[in-house]
């Protein structure tokens, strides 16, 4: 008979570590998808997911069972991703010259006809990734959760541990930061 999530967690807490494996199997796809939003290299993604699961195992006794396990795990995943972003604040300044030809072409097409359909979605996707990489960690986190994943402010507050007003302030700053980066790209390319 298949055990429920609560039974698996109770078993892990009483020392049966093997009961943790079904939880890892069930929720790893979601954790991987989250980690891939913040890390580009696959080795970094795997490191983040591994850290999420090790933390989940260590802190399992703090899971109160009032909300679904998935919510608790995703909070842990988002916070681990944020720590990763803060720990990997490399030189985020990239210049237009670092853009690939496909990305440049996509931008050209956008400038000549902003209303046209978005051909070469892959180039656009790469350009988004490049812009997001230049954002500061809080800005990237809030743009990803609020604009790309379309989560509510309340939900972001729950996931990140930031207060609702702080999420709103960071969202405002993040949008401005993103516009500044896009203007810079435009100036470098066309002026």
């Amino acid at each position: 008979m298949e055990r429920t999530e609560a039974q698996l967690i109770a078993a892990v807490l009483t020392g049966d570590a093997a009961s943790f494996e079904p939880l890892v199997e069930t929720y790893s796809p979601r954790v991987f998808a989250t980690a891939r939003r913040y890390a580009r290299r696959e080795s970094e993604v795997e490191d983040i997911v591994q850290e999420v699961w090790l933390k989940a195992f260590e802190k399992l006794s703090s899971f109160r069972g009032e909300a679904p396990f998935e919510h608790w795990l995703m909070r842990l995943a988002v916070r681990t991703c944020y720590d990763f972003l803060r720990g990997h604040q490399r030189n985020r300044e990239t210049t237009f010259s670092e853009m690939t030809e496909a990305e440049g072409d996509w931008l050209d097409r956008f400038v000549t006809g902003p209303e046209s359909g978005s051909e070469n979605a892959e180039a656009a996707r790469q350009l988004v990734g490049r812009v997001l990489e230049q954002l500061s960690p809080p800005a990237r986190m809030v743009i990803t959760l609020l604009e790309i994943e379309e989560r509510s402010v309340k939900e972001i507050s729950r996931l990140t541990g930031w207060s609702v007003p702080l999420v709103k302030v960071r969202a405002f700053r993040a949008r401005a930061e993103m516009r500044r980066i896009l203007s810079k790209i435009g100036k470098e390319k066309y002026l």
């Binding site: 109160r64 902003p114 350009l127 203007s183």
Partner: protein
């Protein structure tokens, strides 16, 4: 260049292309191999959980007792003389002692 429109379009592209949720082969085995022998019990978390759970019944009991002491009429005769009350309480046991001759 219309920055607002570019921003809107790039975000739309990002929304339309969610990242893959592919899990590397046998990833769960790798995690299981790295787990410590036993999940560490967080004693502070246990205490805080127990105290939070105890808080609600404690508040309920406190409210019940407050309501009871407020609404139940006081049948005892009130006295303003604290020293007299104290003396009565202290000597209550002496007053109740049987006469010396009855013990024999």
């Amino acid at each position: 260049m219309n920055v607002e429109e570019l921003q809107r379009k790039l975000i739309a592209v990002a929304r339309a292309n969610p990242p893959s949720d592919r899990v590397p082969f046998a990833f769960e085995k790798r995690i299981m191999a790295r787990l410590p022998a036993r999940a560490r019990l967080d004693e502070w978390a246990l205490w805080s959980r127990a105290l939070w759970r105890a808080a609600a019944p404690c508040v309920a009991v406190m409210l019940l007792l407050s309501a009871w002491s407020f609404f139940v009429p006081n049948t005892a005769t009130p006295s303003n003389d604290l020293s007299q009350d104290f003396e009565n309480t202290l000597l209550a046991a002496v007053d109740q002692e049987p006469p010396a001759d009855s013990a024999w």
